[in-house]
């Protein structure tokens, strides 16, 4: 056995662990920031009890959820019920590995990174469907049906929007896409692909089941939707998956449309600065939308997806292809 590889392996493992911890902390504090921002918009205080300005609130929440009893109702399909939240979280979170945080920093520089992220996010729909099916509850079942229909139909619009970007860049590799943006006269694909950007943002909100497309978990209709039977840490896993989804979709939008880690100038010592700035801005957009808009109805949501977004993104794709051909 060649032991010379061991130190490199250990170092990689440590990097992974640090990154995972960082990602988890980001997601945990995203919940805190969301609560604080929405509270500000709604003229409340938000969390302010645990720690200074409530800063320790997410940690307290996680600890509380870990302590809670993991209730498994007797009527559920046990193995599927247990594994569904893991599917949702793993598929939701592993997409982070492909998003380039910096020129020299991307965990897995896959040639088809973009496709892989899309595939993973479709797979995470399985977690939702399986949890709804296994729960053996009518609310959960309705929620899962809504979620699967919604994720599948909005995936098409989203993929078509991203395909226009791929046409512009000529690569599925996210690093290449960023580089192509740097070389293009616009510096970011958001300017030539403004339609694709909007389609992507709308579908990303639908894909992550956020307001105004939060039908699968519509609190006032389906109580909690597909995870109504879950409790304790398994419930938290679904929550984590949702927030990971938000982060990944925002990261993807930042990478594909806003020029990724590139900024107008380098900031020495802070290599991730521009990427994080764009990421946070997009996340703020998510939260802002949540505080503003009411919820769509199921058929209206489907109508929006199939009758407006998909034709629009198709037309955009053809236009992009034609321009690519002629120019």
């Amino acid at each position: 056995m060649d032991l010379s590889l061991l130190p490199a392996f250990v170092i990689m493992l440590i990097i992974y662990l640090v990154l995972l911890l960082l990602a988890l902390l980001h997601v945990a504090y995203l919940t805190y920031v969301e609560r604080k921002i929405i509270a500000r918009m709604q003229q409340r205080l938000g969390p302010n009890r645990v720690g200074p300005r409530g800063l320790l609130q997410p940690i307290a929440d996680v600890l509380k959820l870990l302590h809670k009893e993991d209730i498994i109702p007797s009527a559920v399909d046990r193995p599927v019920f247990l594994i569904a939240p893991l599917i949702a979280l793993v598929c939701g979170a592993s997409g982070l590995a492909f998003i380039p945080l910096w020129d020299k920093f991307v965990l897995s520089n896959l040639n088809v990174g973009l496709l892989f992220i899309l595939a993973l996010s479709s797979l995470s729909a399985y977690g939702v469907i399986l949890s709804g099916w296994a729960s053996n509850s009518r609310y959960a079942f309705l929620g899962a049906l809504r979620a699967s229909a919604q994720v599948i139909s909005y995936e098409i619009a989203m993929s078509l929007a991203l395909l226009s970007v791929v046409l512009m860049a000529g690569s599925f590799n996210l690093q290449e896409i960023v580089r192509a943006q740097a070389e293009s006269p616009f510096k970011a694909f958001v300017f030539p692909q403004i339609i694709a950007f909007f389609i992507f943002m709308v579908s990303a909100i639908a894909e992550t089941n956020r307001v105004p497309f939060d039908l699968p978990e519509a609190e006032t209709e389906l109580v909690a939707g597909y995870f109504v039977e879950y409790s304790g840490i398994r419930f938290a896993l679904f929550y984590l998956a949702e927030y990971f989804g938000m982060v990944i979709m925002s990261g993807l939008a930042a990478t594909c449309f806003l020029g990724g880690y590139l900024g107008p100038f380098e900031i020495p010592g802070l290599p991730f600065f521009w990427f994080l700035l764009k990421l946070y801005l997009l996340l703020f957009f998510y939260i802002w939308v949540r505080a503003t808009l009411p919820r769509y109805r199921y058929d209206q949501l489907m109508g929006l997806g199939w009758k407006i977004l998909i034709p629009l993104s198709l037309a955009n794709l053809f236009l992009t292809a034609l321009f690519k051909l002629w120019l």
Binding site: I38, M41, Q42, Q43, R44, R138, Y139, L142, R146, V211, P212, D214, L215, A218, E219, T220, E221, L222, V223, R290, A291, T292, L293, P294, R295, Y296, R297, Y298, D299, Q300
Partner: protein, 410 residues
């Protein structure tokens, strides 16, 4: 077992069809059934084929309880009916009893009642807007409405000490006069409230999703509305300008000027508009009454011949080691000064027409008290309105009818 459940089980056993509808038991514990309403739904996908409301989870037997309490004590029961606007219930009880006793209420008391009645209307409509918006998904409107309802509740607290169950109205008048402080607060509130309504409207009135969710949902034609027995804003949303305040003015409504808004199509959006305009009109009424209060400065707020004999004369002194409840036991004289007869009174409560029919046998307790609560009638209209709509619409319909289960089950 309730009838819908029997029906479902019966269908399950006998049905030979392969296609079985999807049954969903919505409530009684559900975040948007506004209390403990239970709806048994027969679904085809998301579309509602049949909807069966089951009520009675909040039944407290108020009508029967009232037969064992004297007239003034029933006012306290009335608080618990429609607990969102308890003053409206107080008023209708007091009006019925005053008719029975042939009492003349002083003008100042009538003005005060009108003010608190309209305050209750605004606070009820604010709560309705909050929950209706929340049901449709607009969380921010919910909190804005609660913020402003809080101001009204604070004023109520200054008026009578209670925020929700006021018991402010007495037979023959009201319990206490307004202080200068309260009048100032109300002037300030009426000044600012129209701008606050505009604030809510900017959030939802031009919102495409809101319009999509409310326009053409649960359309009630005028004929249907009358056949279903709908009253209040729901009836006016269908275009029928029926308002008890205009048709049979009580209290000080004949002295004030206000408009009765009506809708055109009778859909959820029209009912929303009607209630928004009603809040503005209520604001106007409060304003006028406050101005008129100055003319009646120093007048009594309780009729001289009001049956204060029925108010506990004295309260037993606490004994050295009193039972915690002992100090409040009624020890007043039980006298029968009440004329034999019957009386009926109805008012325009925030939810609809609220009516009381009382029969007296001459004792100081009502022999029979019958209540006509709008929420009960409105809930019975849900099956008719939801036919062919989707689950999400059902939630909007419950919201637009503005039902309170304490009002329905009594």
């Amino acid at each position: 077992m309730s009838s819908p459940l029997i029906e479902i089980t019966a269908k399950k056993n006998s049905s030979e069809a392969i296609v079985e509808p999807f049954y969903l038991n919505l409530g009684p514990q559900h975040p948007s059934t506004h209390g403990v309403l239970r709806l048994v739904l027969e679904l085809d996908g998301e579309t509602i084929l049949r909807c069966d409301p089951v009520v009675g989870y909040l039944h407290r037997g108020v009508e029967k309880l009232a037969e064992n309490l004297n007239y003034n004590q029933t006012i306290v029961l009335s608080d618990r009916l429609d607990y969102i606007a308890s003053v409206a219930n107080n008023i209708v009880f007091a009006l019925a009893f005053e008719k029975l006793f042939n009492l003349k209420v002083p003008r100042r008391a009538r003005l005060l009642r009108t003010i608190v009645g309209e305050m209750a209307r605004i606070s009820s409509h604010l709560l309705w807007l909050a929950t209706h918006a929340l049901d449709i998904g607009a969380m921010t409107v919910f909190l804005y409405c609660f913020r402003d309802r809080e101001r009204l509740l604070n004023i109520f607290e200054k008026i009578c000490g209670a925020r929700l169950t006021h018991s402010y109205v007495r037979i023959g008048g009201v319990r206490l006069d307004f202080t200068v402080d309260i009048v100032e607060d109300l002037y300030k509130f009426t000044e600012e409230f129209p701008h606050l309504i505009t604030e809510y409207e900017t959030l939802i009135d031009v919102n495409r999703i809101w319009l999509k969710r409310t326009k053409d949902i649960a359309v009630v034609t005028p004929e249907e509305a009358i056949n279903l027995g709908l009253t209040g804003p729901v009836l006016r949303g269908s275009g029928i300008p029926y308002d008890v305040r205009k048709f049979r003015p009580y209290d000080a409504y004949d002295e004030v000027e206000f408009e009765v808004p009506v809708g055109e199509k009778g859909d959820t959006y029209d009912r929303y508009r009607v209630r928004m305009i009603e809040m503005r009109q209520s604001n106007k009424i409060i304003r006028q009454c406050l101005d008129k209060l100055k003319e009646t400065e120093g007048e009594p707020v309780l009729a001289e011949d009001s049956p204060d004999l029925l108010i506990p004369e004295r309260v037993r002194e606490p004994e050295p080691k009193p039972h915690p409840k002992r100090g409040f036991i009624f020890t007043g004289r039980e006298v029968s000064v009440v004329p034999v007869g019957e009386a009926f009174a109805s008012i325009e409560s925030p939810k609809g027409e609220l009516a009381v029919y009382v029969v007296s046998d001459g004792s100081n307790r009502p022999w029979r008290l019958r209540l006509r609560m709008p929420s009960f009638v409105h809930i019975s209209a849900i099956p008719e309105l939801t036919k062919g709509h989707m689950i999400a619409d059902l939630i909007a319909i419950i919201g637009t009818l503005d039902v309170v289960l304490g009002d329905c089950d009594r």
